[in-house]
Amino acid sequence: MARDPLADPQPLIRQLYAYVAYVLGDGPDAEDVTSETFERALRYRASYDPGKGAPIAWLIGIARRCIAPHLAARRELATPAAIDEARAQGPDLSDRTVTKLAVRQAVAALSERDQELVALRFGSDLTCRQIGELLGLKTNSVEVALHRALARLEAALAEEGTAVRNRPQDRYSRVTTDTD
């Protein structure tokens, strides 16, 4: 084996989970898919070819096969959005938490295609080129599709009341610098 794709698993776990959770929703299903992906990755790690992409891209290729049955089940078991439940809890939740939930709900409301693009780009930090290789698209097409997906996301957020346009700058910096 030229290089062990799982030599440094921690960042891979976080990136993979973020991708899966953006597609399936944060929770046990995302944990299951992440676990299943790593189990398969361990089984097939000898087949990893660094020439074909970074380890995270390889892992996501495996994860996409694991996600399919969960996606079907999720459609059947769609539950009311967590944001409403979170809001019902009132002032106990910080603005940051509500914003996070609103963003996640807005991502979940996107089409499957848009969700996947957003999850790959902003969940797993893949480049547009890597996404293109994974999905069989040209880099330019990915960039355009992502731009449109973000436009739809912005519209959904505005509808939800998490307006992007008129919010003070400091609020964004707070959101983006805080960690979980």
Partner: protein
Amino acid sequence: MHLPSWRNRKKIEDLVRGARPAPSRELEDRLSQMVGRNPAPRAGMRRSVVALSFTVLVLAGLAAGGGVGYAGHLVSASFVTLKVHVLDIQTKQVPSVRRYSAAISQYGGGGGGGGGGGTTTTTQTTTTTQTVTSTTTTTEVSVTSSGTVTGSPSTDDTIDGAAGVDNITVVDLGGDNTIHLQGSGNTVTTGAGNDNISLTGDGDQTLNAGAGDNNIHVTGTGTHTITTGAGDSAIRVYGGTNTINAKGPGSSDIKVTGGTGTITVGPGGSTIFTKKGTAYTINVWNGSKDVVNCNNAKDTVTYDKGVDKLIKCGNATLHPKAPKS
């Protein structure tokens, strides 16, 4: 469609990145440990294969050049050498048990003279009577041969069975324990507490988990018997012939993505998910609302008619019963 300006786009990107879901600490630890326990095959293996191939080629060349007898002598000599090496390895295969504690982790095993470093290793002399008992402190036990491990009933223990080590019996009747066994033929019994149990070897496994919110993963093939007590346990099974009894009250979350067998849950409202291609006999006839997702598998489901929710059970054989009172 309105497209965002580049400035707004940056803000949205930051929002989406900031809202990125993060895995739980438990998941991160479990997966990191799983990867750590399964190191990548060493490149030396490939080099050995190349060297062996080269040797064979040289010998073949010698044989073709007329030095058949000489080549034959070389071959027999290398077999003798190989024999010696195998015997050497066998004499080194002494089963051992490693015990860790917080003090050992921090200050090392202390091999005398203040040298520090390393861990204390207790070497067992037999393979069948190994017993490790921790009574007062939290203990991490690495089991490297068959036997019985008895954990402390009052502390949270971590018990690891190495790959290839079979027939381990673990009895840990208290605490929130983490038990990971990679061999087969294991029997695990736990008491009250939220245990993390993962059995990953191919072969038979028996698990009796006591009350608590247990997290159970059984990934290999073989015959598995999994029993849980009261509590909200999460059970994941990936293959084999399974008997899963979660009859205690509680909301179990059971997901089977391979194998066959039976699944029975008690009152409390459980969720069962099977994968297409599996064929389980599922009994959720318990009077409370359970959700069964057959995923178009050929399961046989006995359920409370009008109470339980069945999803994609079109290929299942259904036995509706009136709800239990």
